[in-house]
């Protein structure tokens, strides 16, 4: 989920005074509100490397749109390369109560497959991101605590709020694959700079770093590069976006389950 928390915080915050004392809940509320208007298409590339792994690359097109409830999102990922996953598609439909749906179109088998809910903490296309990393939980699912202000880990000249994010429902940890998050939220634009994923013992096992936010209309940002490091085995995944189009409306039908695989 955290990937999406990062993607589009509002620039409205830029003009607001950070001199005043914001609570952690306030900061994250603004973050959540900012990303509720997202609708965009982008070309993506996943690079998997590090540890003992051999480098792998996958390219895809990514469509994302907020649902009518203005809370949840639909996401469609259509892979282009390598040839073994060409035209494979993954549709994420976020639902209330953590009942997200994941459907996968397998062109080789000409079949749409439902992915079991418990697999949302499994790897997304062999990367260090999980399925749940790229869906969005709502702020109401977390208890936020501010842990002070410090230099942003990836941009030292900017100050960041350090936010401790604990899951309200311990049962969610099994599905999400982590027990707690620590987020560094930039003071200048409220974008997330770094995220630590913590296990049950409080040990950090994954780290997400962001770079290259670009402004999109109106007054929003979108990260062009995200790097997820697995701190237990030195593996990492870089997720890059280009050709970001937030102006062309995406028809709702792009995310209809019945349309999945109908071009094959």
């Amino acid at each position: 989920m955290i990937l999406f928390l990062l993607l589009l915080p509002s620039l409205n915050l830029i003009n607001e005074s950070f001199a005043q004392k914001w609570t952690a809940k306030d900061i994250m509320a603004k973050n959540e509100k900012a990303r509720q208007t997202l609708s965009l298409k982008a070309e993506g590339k996943i690079t998997i490397d590090g540890g003992t792994r051999k480098r792998q690359e996958k390219t895809f097109t990514w469509w994302r749109q907020i649902q009518k409830d203005q809370v949840h999102f639909n996401t469609l990922t259509l892979f282009h390369t390598p040839a073994t996953v060409k035209n494979q598609a993954i549709l994420f439909l976020e639902e209330s109560g953590e009942k997200n749906e994941i459907l996968m179109w397998l062109p080789t088998f000409k079949k749409t497959r439902i992915i079991e809910s418990s697999q949302q903490n499994s790897s997304f296309m062999a990367s260090d991101f999980t399925f749940s990393d790229i869906t969005a939980l709502q702020n109401e699912d977390y208890t936020f605590t501010e842990k002070g202000i410090e230099s942003c880990p990836n941009l030292a000249k900017i100050k960041c709020y350090k936010i401790d994010s604990a899951l309200k429902n311990p049962e969610s940890a099994k599905r999400l694959g982590y027990h707690k998050l620590i987020l560094w939220i930039r003071q200048d634009n409220s974008m997330t700079d770094r995220v630590h994923y913590l296990d049950e013992s409080g040990k950090v096992f994954k780290q997400l770093d962001t770079t290259g936010p670009v402004a999109i209309n109106p007054g929003k940002f979108f990260f062009t590069k995200l790097e997820m490091k697995n701190l237990t085995n030195a593996q990492f995944t870089i997720l890059e976006f280009s050709g970001i189009d937030w102006k062309t409306p995406i028809p709702d039908s792009r995310f209809y389950k019945q349309k999945l695989g109908k071009d094959d």
Partner: protein, 425 residues
């Protein structure tokens, strides 16, 4: 010419609208049942596909399969495969037009109906390229020449969709006879294809974590019945002709997410509209097939699939001919049509280990086992080495075992170990 010009206008060229890909593969199999005979089988070929999509409404699809095969020990219609033969078949050669609600597609098409893995009794329209002793479904599945119209209400937003299918040239499954068992006294003549047209209606509901299909179908059996065409006594030779019996069927497919596992189930009832006294070994070949399966992932790399399988003839009665040769033909059909028992109960267990990294071995183990009355089984272990994203090496085995009075057991002589390589591009 006007139609062609209109079509070309509609399909105005655009480089970005075209995509293509394919696969090259080769396999060499060594029989394990008679090691002293040093029998081998080889198959290899190419699968090429292309899509041309000038706009959101129109699409032209092509998928061709060219393959060579050398398969001793078998007799099949049309070809003598002892020395080797080459085939070119189209899986797809179709034109599609779609709107938000409707999708019309005509030409050569592939269908893949059913929710289960491995055994799909509701996959009424598909045939199987049984000649190819490979483990990949996309190479063995055979298409049909057909037109289909699909409607999804509410401009495509409805969870319901409805499909109508008209099949002009039906798919068929290859008939393989073990020439050792038939002792060179049986020959197969050309089959008479496409005498009957097929129709199907499919209703689909795709809900949240749950979907089901109901299918009504009227068509022909995909595995033909063999009927005696001629016989000579000195020397003894029986000439058989494959024919396709008419039948209709009802199918129900269900898949549901239970959070920790997925239920995938299929039920099919097929009623034969034609029976042939000199070919059918039972008086009433109407049958019910049931598959109930559970699929579960464990961790990142392990996947288990357990299916219970049942086949039943509600009105089972043998009708052996008094003529010995006719009775022999009936017995061949008994195995080809899997009519040798009133009820068969079995299971299919599939385990897959798929590492996320390259330069690792993937492993898949599949065990189809019928244990009721006369046991029979097919075991297929397979190792794949992922050299690169696109190049795989594989070693696999096809192990048929059980009573020779069963469809799996009769293929004992085909048990083999295979070595293969494939390049996807």
């Amino acid at each position: 010419m006007i139609s062609l010009a209109l079509l070309l206008t509609l399909l105005a060229p655009s480089a970005q609208a075209f995509e293509w890909g394919g696969k090259l593969w080769g396999n060499s199999l060594v029989k394990t049942s008679h090691p002293l005979e040093q029998q081998t089988q080889h198959n290899g070929g190419a699968r090429i596909f292309g899509k041309y999509k000038p706009n959101d409404s129109w699409q032209f699809s092509l998928e061709a399969l060219g393959f060579g095969i050398q398969t001793p020990l078998l007799i099949v219609p049309k070809k003598d495969l002892e020395a080797g033969s080459a085939f070119v078949e189209f899986n797809q050669l179709s034109l599609m037009y779609k709107t938000e609600s409707f999708r019309l597609k005509a030409g050569r098409q592939i269908t893949s109906w059913g929710k289960s893995d491995g055994i799909n009794p509701t996959d009424f329209l598909s045939g199987k390229r049984n000649l190819l002793l490979v483990t990949e479904d996309s190479l063995t599945r055979r298409g049909h020449t057909s037109a289909s119209l699909e409607w999804t209400p509410q401009s495509g937003a409805s969870p319901w969709s409805f499909e109508f299918w008209y099949v002009h040239e039906h798919a068929y499954s290859d008939v393989l006879l073990n020439s050792k068992l038939t002792q060179n006294v049986i020959s197969l003549n050309e089959q008479e294809l496409y005498q009957e047209k097929e129709f199907a209606l499919k209703f689909n509901y795709l809900g949240a974590g749950f979907d089901f299909d109901y299918i009504f179908y009227r068509g022909v059996t995909k595995t033909p019945l063999l009927t005696e065409q001629s016989r000579s006594l000195l020397p003894l030779n029986i000439s058989l002709k494959p024919i396709y019996a008419r039948q209709e069927g009802h199918g129900l497919n269900i898949a549901r997410d239970f959070e920790n596992y997925i239920l995938r189930s299929e039920i099919a009832y097929q009623r034969r509209l034609d029976t042939f006294a000199n070919a059918d070994a039972i008086t009433n070949p109407d049958r019910v097939d049931v598959v109930i399966g559970f699929e579960k992932s464990v961790g990142e790399n392990h996947r288990f699939n357990i299916q219970a399988v049942g086949h039943h003839y509600p009105d089972y009665q043998r009708s052996p001919s008094t003529d010995q040769i006719t009775r022999s033909v009936q017995n061949i059909n008994l195995l080809l049509q899997a009519q040798h028992q009133e009820t068969r109960i079995g299971s299919l267990l599939v385990y897959q280990y798929e590492p996320l990294e390259l330069n690792q071995f993937k492993f898949k183990f599949s065990w189809m086992n019928y244990f009721h009355y006369e046991s029979a089984q097919l075991i297929t272990p397979q190792f794949d080495y992922l050299w690169t994203e696109n190049f795989h090496l594989s070693i696999y085995a096809l192990i048929f075992d059980g009573s020779r009075n069963t469809p799996l057991g009769v293929l004992k002589d085909l048990s083999s170990v295979g070595f293969g390589a494939s390049l996807v591009f």
